[in-house]
Structures are given as C-alpha cells and as structure tokens.
Symmetry: C2
Subunit: 338 residues, 2 copies
C-alpha cells in the first residue's frame, strides 16, 4: 500500500494533492486512502493554512474558491508529512527545493518514488541543476520523475480538460505515477527523457518574458514570430550544447509547445515581460521567471557562451533592468548571422 | 538578365512585388530593372487597380496606405505580364491557381524558375495537390519553389522585421530566389522539403480555426493547449501518412511554429473560428481556411481516414455548419485514445 505525500501547499501543490486525493479514493487496493500535504506555517485571515485545509477543506490564499476532497490531511510539520510516505511529490519553488529536500531527507524512510512538479533551475555549486537532480541527490535510492505541461493550477482544480508530460527513465515509476495522476480530465503522456522535459519547463518562461517585453512595445505580429522562434531556437541549442539532446521531438509534447502556449496565453512570465518598465518602478514581487533568467545568465556567462544565446541574454538584460524593452526588441529583430 | 513577373495583385502579391522591386533596383546586373505585376481587371473608386498602381503607385483596395516603388508596372493582361519573364511568382488564391496556370502556360516562354506564394490545397482529379505541384504540371521545365512563413502582407509592406521559409529541391533556384527576396528586414531561410513546407502552410489554418472556435466558447487555457496540440499532432500524422515525411523538425522553422503563431495572433482563420456561429447567420465572404477545411475533409473521406483525424473532422463539421462550436470543443477535449 503506497503512501503519498505532497510537499508544498501553494496553488499547484494544493490542486495536485486534490487531484491525487480523488484518484486514490478509487484505488484503495494500491494507495493509502489519505494523502498528506505539507504547507509552510502561514496565517491567512487569522487562520493557519493547514488548519483551514483540515477543517474547512479550503486553501483560501493559494486556491481560492476550491473545495478540497475530504481525504487530504495537511500539516506544517515536514517530519509528520513525509514519515512513512513512499511516494514523495515536491511542489515548491526551485529556490527552496534544495533546503526542503535536505530537511526531508532527515525524516523520510527510503521513499521508492519521488516526483518533481517544479519548473526552473536549482542553483548548485556555482552552476545549477534541474529539480529532479536536486531531489536525486537527497534521495539517491528513489526513482525520480518530473511532471511538466500546460497545467494552470486553478483550471486543474476546476476539472477542466488538460494534459501533461510525465518524465522518467524508470518504467515502474512511470506506471505507478500515471495510475496516481491520470483521471477523466487529465491525460498523462509518458516520456523517457527527463532532462529534455525539465529543460523545456525552465526555458519556456524566458521565451514568454521576451515575447511579453516585445509585445509591450507594440512589436508587430511578423516580428513577434521571429522573436518566438529565436527563443525556441535557443531552447533547442541549449539542449544540444548542455544536455546532449539533439532530438527536437519533445517540443511537440505537452511539456513543449503545450506548456509554452499556455504560458503565452495565461502565464505570469509573459505578464512580467509586458510590465518590465512598470516593474522597475513599482517593485512587484519576484516570480519564477526572474530567477530562471538570472540563473540561466549566470550559467551561460560561466560557460562563456552568452554570445551563442543573444535572445536569452537580451531577456536577462531587460529583466534585470540593464536595458529597456525597446533595446531588447531591436536586438532580437536583427537578422541572426548564425 | 532575369525578368520577374508577379501574378496576383492582392495584398500579398502587391506587397511581395514591392519588396522584390526594391531589391532588384540594387541588383541590376542580375535582374531586369522593372518588375511586372498582373492584377485582375477590377475597378475601385472609379479606377482600374492596374491604372492606380501605374499612375499613383497605390493599390487602394488590397494594400491601403502603402506607397509602391516606381519600378513596378501593373497590367491586367496576363499575356503582357508574363511575356519574356523567366521568373514567375504566383500569388493567387488556390481555387484560381489551376486556371491561371493553364492560361499562363499559353503565353509563357519557358520560365526557368517559378515560385508559389499560395497556401492551401488545389483541387485536382477528385483529390488535391499542393500549389507547387499545380505550377509544375503547367511548367514542367521550371524549377518550382514555395515561400511560406509568418508574413502578414501589410507588415511586410511597412518593412517590419520578418522571416520566411523558401523551399525548393533545386539549389540554383534557392540561391536565385534568395537573392531576389532577402533584404535588410526579411530573412530568408532555405529548406529542401517543399512538400513539408506546403503541407504546414495549408494545415495550420485548420488548427487556427479550431482554436478560434474553442476560444469563442470560453474554453480555458489548459484545454486550449490540448486542442492546439491535437491539431499539431494531426499535422504531423498527415505528413507521415500522405507525404511520407516523418521528420518533424520543419515544425521549428518559420513556415511551422512561426506561421502558426502569426495565424493565431493576427490571421483570419482564428477569427473565422471565433465567428462560426455569427458567420452562419451573416454570410460573410469566404476565406482560404474554409476551402482548405473542405478540400482536406473531402480528401480524408475519400481515403477513408477521417477517424484518424478527429480534430480536422471536427473543424470541418463546425465550419460547414454541421455542428456548433460547443460540440467541437467537447469532442476535442475528450482524451485521445490513440
């Protein structure tokens, strides 16, 4: 009997826990009937988030308006959350993932399977690694997988039809997690190459920021298409140079074109790009795309490869306030000599 | 000295003639200094289009607000237009392409190179062929190429940065046409597989109609991403089954993701999809996407393959008024069993 814990009570972690909780109710011969959710200790409207989830089945701050299933138990004790769980699901921002894994490794009792829901880079040893690699470092015995796709949390919580890519080199983990996740409204597409899937998940945010910045300057459609393709071309080049992946077919999967499309349609990265000028004045809260842009730039600079990635570099310069969006557009609109 | 004729005085033909006219002014050792444009006899505001272009350097109906170069000569006589031209560029709707090629073949004096700017299917012998194949049938001696990309005509006319795919199996034609087309604001990417390029150019309109229809029903982002990917998957399947092309890398070229993106952003196909319900009442003028959907459906039905293409079939049913957009969305949102 598999026990499942979801680590991270933000919008995606909560929505995912709700989805899994519903699924396991019908599969009690395989999974323990209750899912445990770890949420950081945080008070909203005078109530601890964990308490609100346990008593009212609501996460008012991160998933407003959604009624959660009865079989979710929430705790702010990481130890209690993951004790005895053999399937660990991490849904925390990449900047906290390393520390949370380090903490979790003290309490976990040899989980068989771990799953990353994070998208982005995890800073490590003056460079970075992908979320699954961080998890693997702390749970070397576990089969580590990653989930990535066009999955706006609130839409999943409202049961709108969606699909996602589940990536792992381990067939058993793919089967077990598919059974845990797939349901009538979420279609799970398995994939063997976890690195490709995680790279697309991180890099598509940079493409979205660039398009947002370009569109904020009134850039016409033909030129936006050039900018989009410059971004995609650099994603492909990144996978080739740094991950040894020449196969571009993963771009056609949910984690590729699907996720990029949703990010352009509804994600915060595109909004960040559109608001770069405004943001510099207003000091809005940071989002994942900014960290990804900065981590990526530091990595490319360390590898002496920024000149091969003029689009990524221009996005970083715009996000970090070194240039304004207009200069970004004029750069990427220049015919690429390569 | 190459003489160039553009056949078709619509927005794209006129904008393309203007672009080429500017280019050849600087390459008078290779190309004749004047380009000839054929426009059908049509009176706008009491003036023949050809007369307006020749006297005022304007095409008021199809390219309003654009000043054309001096070295464009326009005529409504197909014979005069293509006499002596050895580079023929066809920019006419696919439904007229066969007849116009048949007429042109009577007058042409053995053109060395022909280029298609059309996107869609040309009905032929109870099935269809691609525009380049129609041209080849009438000009068997010519090296036939096709141009396809994210190229909104008015934006090209206003010199906004853009890129395009130029496809031909013939290296000499690729070189000659690149020299004719490439300039400071339009980047030309050559490609060897003309069939793949033309197939994407035709099919992306169907994908855009489907997304437009879905978005008109308030379909959420995650589900739109599923619909987009269903459409792309069927494009890939079509190329595999009927063109023998398994390589999906052309999707990453300007004629693939670039053109699809611009069609979603600014093309009339998406608008058609959004207005399917309205259109059934109002009787708006037909556009290329409707012909493409109908031609494609007839072809798939003749091949007994509609069940392999549920998305394309649903789009045809919606466009032809057999179903309303809601039923289309519920069909494509169903998890695909394949």
């Amino acid at each position: 009997m598999h026990k499942v814990a979801v680590v991270g009570g933000g919008s995606w972690g909560t929505a995912f826990a709700a989805l899994v909780a519903e699924n396991i109710r019908e599969k009690t011969s395989v999974f323990d009937k209750q899912i445990v959710l770890w949420a950081k200790a945080e008070v909203v409207d005078g109530e601890e988030i964990a308490h609100g989830i346990n008593t009212g089945k609501r996460n008012k701050k991160y998933l407003p308006g959604v009624q959660l299933p009865e079989n979710i138990h929430c705790t702010s004790s990481l130890q209690k959350a993951i004790k005895d769980a053999d399937i660990l699901i991490f849904a925390v921002p990449t900047k906290y993932l390393g520390q949370i894994c380090a903490d979790a490794a003290q309490y976990a009792t040899n989980p068989a399977v771990a799953l990353s829901l994070s998208k982005g880079f995890v800073p490590h040893d003056k460079t970075f690694c992908f979320p699954s690699e961080t998890i693997k470092r702390y749970f070397p015995e576990a089969a580590v997988s990653a989930l990535s796709g066009p999955n706006i949390a609130l839409e999943i919580a409202h049961r709108f039809p969606a699909e996602t890519t589940l990536a792992s080199a381990d067939d058993h983990a793919l089967g077990l997690l598919s059974s845990l996740i797939q349901n009538s409204f979420l279609s799970v597409k398995p994939h063997k190459n976890i690195t490709a899937v995680e790279a697309y998940g991180a890099l598509k945010n940079i493409v979205a920021v660039g398009l947002g910045a370009a569109s904020s300057t009134g850039c016409p459609s033909n030129t936006l298409a050039v900018i989009l393709r410059k971004g995609i071309t650099e994603m492909v080049l990144f996978l080739d140079l740094f991950c040894g992946i020449k196969d571009t077919s993963v771009f056609l999967e949910p984690c590729g074109i699907g996720d990029l499309f949703v990010t352009l349609l509804a994600g915060r990265s595109m909004e960040l790009g559109r608001n770069i000028a405004k943001k510099k004045e207003a000091g809005a809260p940071e989002i994942q795309a900014e960290h990804t842009a900065a981590d990526l730039h530091a990595f490319l600079a360390a590898k002496n490869k920024t000149d091969r990635f003029p689009f990524f570099t221009a996005v970083y310069n715009a996000v970090s306030g070194k240039t304004d969006p207009e200069s970004f557009v004029s750069l990427v609109a220049t015919p690429n000599p390569l």
